[in-house]
Symmetry: C2
Subunit: 187 residues, 2 copies
Amino acid sequence: MEVSIGISNRHIHLKEEEYKILFGDEELTVCKPINQPGQFASNQFVNLKNGDRIIEHVRVLGPLREYNQIEISKTDARLLKLDPPVRMSGHLEGSAPITVIGPKGEIELKEGCIIADRHIHMLPEQAKEFGLEGVETVSVELKGEKGGIINNVYLRVAPNSYFEMHIDTDDANAHLVNQGDIGIIIK
Amino acid sequence: MEVSIGISNRHIHLKEEEYKILFGDEELTVCKPINQPGQFASNQFVNLKNGDRIIEHVRVLGPLREYNQIEISKTDARLLKLDPPVRMSGHLEGSAPITVIGPKGEIELKEGCIIADRHIHMLPEQAKEFGLEGVETVSVELKGEKGGIINNVYLRVAPNSYFEMHIDTDDANAHLVNQGDIGIIIK
């Protein structure tokens, strides 16, 4: 079956405490809602730093969360000389350390930097309809001149989800996939 | 069957005329031989430019060729705001324009910038041995945590080849593949 593709560029999720250190009194404001209900791209940006390596202008995603999490691609990781693990959102134990710089302050995180796993958001009723109840991962075919099949795509089945596959910019650029393109779920 | 993987970072091939404009009297010198016989990574570097976008420190591959060709990834292309086609080496008609800056001069190429196609170098006797005579493309399985299958991998069957698959940094980073890792050729 077909699934629409959302491409996640590098971004950061922040807790309230760390947000205040980085941004002071500046409010976290909505630039644009994203497809997952309640989530948004904000107008706030940070820089990511490791040693003498820096990536500038990394967007904060809102709303604020219960954990600090930085999602980057392997290409970004090589630039920063970091070796983040591939992880599901929120599973941060032993993930990579990173320094985050905001307009008002700087924080050194001992962990929090990951490469996000490939995943598909889906409602429980959709998992049932698609015959995917209890399935942990699927493969997804990507068409095109540099197409292929990507493995280990995790299913995130939850109420209040928007049905969509999230891949990072490395997966998208390797396969010449654009935002909103279609993948084919292979059980 | 198994094939060793070589990862091609962005690089440039130059004709003698353009090399001299960029480098003057400086000789093209060998930094390190690469696996394809006679080819080498040189000690010479250029910058790539399009409008106000620049990528610095791009290596010249030697020896000099009969055409100027710049091979970049889609990630690089987005940074440079270019839209190069996926092409086989030397097939440059209608490929992307780009400006190349050397220590002694600068050239504006009307075409020459491509995303190299995925390909496997192989001897004629190997193509025969593997049952791949006359086959144009194969798919290749990449193992690992972000593994998958890449399609449209072109066979380059020629004498004096070193058996190896070449993919770009986007394909490698998307699949967390390192230089010298093994892929499985699927007919």
